[in-house]
Amino acid sequence: MKILCTAKRVPDPEIKLRVAGDGSGYVKDGVKWVVNPFDEIAVEESLRLKEKHGGEVVVVSIGPADAAQQVRQCLAMGADRGVLVKADGEVDSDAAARAIVKIIQEEKPDLVIMGKQAVDYDSSQAAAIAAELLGWGQAAYASKVVVADDGKSVRVTREVDGGLETVDVVLPGIVTADLRLNEPRYASLPSIMKAKKKPLKETTFAELGVDAAPKVKSLKIAEPPARKAGQLVPDVPTLVKKLHDEAKVI
């Protein structure tokens, strides 16, 4: 089974981002970059399916030349090959999806596993856009993926409002990883060394023949207004009194 997964380079979710002086974006200097957490889960799931069913795992990223580091990290986890679409500046989910579609058409994987959302812009669009452009089925927010015995579909459990939904997606198809799908492995030192020799192909939007122009343009970025500082209360009776008399919520 050939599996293609995607990995976006994003700022470490644990850090605090600062707004750039002119409000056009966030400050990128000195930021610690990581593989988008949902994409790490997507890579892990791809590796587990390969371990079970055999095949190949190709990881694709779109980003600055430095994003090669994040692709290498996925290769160190165990992916076989990498493709990096080099792009300077912001690439919106739509442009990323169209580049991913182009690579899918070249690579012809049986299954594509992406992240539920990239935690930088939190758009959660790319997988569904790619599925629509390819005319494929999709199952987003997966917490379990099982390949059917005949290899023609995957059965996916999805985390949705009100419970868990199960669907079958005809292959080739797209699945997106939610937090509880698996726990990504750490790359061992030997596998980090080995990853340095694995093939990583670099390309560009121009080479792929994909227009990188964004359909969603960022006009401004700002810090949200801070909540006004609250107060510590000494004990439960005071708390209840304040909730009753002051806040009037109970």
């Binding site: 700022p11 981002l17 966030y26 919106d92 989910s93 739509d94 999806a97 935690v119 930088d120 812009y121 939190d122 758009s123 959660s124 669009q125 790319a126 997988a127 569904a128 599925a131 629509e132 452009l133 005319g135 089925g137 999709q138 987003a140 927010y141 917490s143 579909s153 985390e159 949705v160 409002d161 419970g163 868990l164 939904e165 199960t166 669907v167 079958d168 997606v169 005809v170 937090l179 964004p214 359909k215 969603v216 343009k217 960022s218 006009l219 401004k220 970025i221 810090e223 949200p224 609250g230 107060q231 510590l232 209360v233 439960v236 009776p237 209840v240 909730l243 806040a247 919520v249 109970i250």
Partner: protein, 326 residues
Amino acid sequence: MSKNVLVVIELKGGAVRKTSLPAVTFAKQAAQKLGGQVHALVCGDNVSAAAEEMKKYGVAVVWAANSPALKNYLPDAFAKATLKAAEAAGAGVICASATAQGRDYLPRVAASLGAGMASDIIGVEDIGGKMAFKRPMFAGNLHQWVEVTTEKKVVSVRPTDFEGAAAGAPSGEVKSLDVGIDAGALKTKFVEFAEVKSERPELTDARIVISGGRGTKGPEGYKETVEVLADALGAAVGATRAIVDAGWVPNDWQVGQTGKVVAPELYIGLGLSGAIQHIAGMAGSKVIVAVNKDPDAPIFKIADYGLVADLFKVVPELIAEIKKVQ
């Protein structure tokens, strides 16, 4: 042309889900700016009652898409139905609430139209004559204003940030929409839905939410504190990712960047640290109370009322004190 706004309504048990009504409010605001009308779409295999119900919300047309292919939610089918309705309605803006469903199929609609999509918007502003959609990014650490540059625009609306449209006297007309979807040709097939049944109010529209974190010590501790307090107050229950991952509570209860976004009148967090990803899902609450034994827990930075104490001691006392004032 294309001045109208289409809002897709989510149904549950054949009735309109309350969480769709904030998107109707956004649709009305957008239609007013564009000088157009609001059209609504209901999808299912028996939507006549829901279509009638939608007439109460002041939309010009309710499109009723009845088809066996729409019996259960499937992204490709709902995207196709939405495209048909958008065409019939002459819609330039297509929206729905940013629920698990809305987030799932709207990007397909955008892709098919070649349109851009703004996800999870929390407001609409005018920036230099452009319709700027305000949205949270990076777990709400930052706010972003975006312009959708294509002529047609797709928008998912964060239900906590727009008032739900109010019901009034029925108006407008119901029109039936032939979606012509061949269920057999769909590439995603519904198997089953395991519903988490609960007698408590829904997390996303409860007046009070009680949430617990790792400080509740385990599924038993969570029950004895969070659930007992919630039942005393008629509240919904929520949780942090840490304890959902640990399997203490159902995934459907997770509040945060990657869980539910809630904005109740009162949010009480018990034994949760207040990680940025958790705060992303509850910072819009009117009043926030935090109980944590660590005075340096980040949750105290955003709590209106903080109590540094052992939650297991606090909860019984809290219930007793609340009984006195109720």
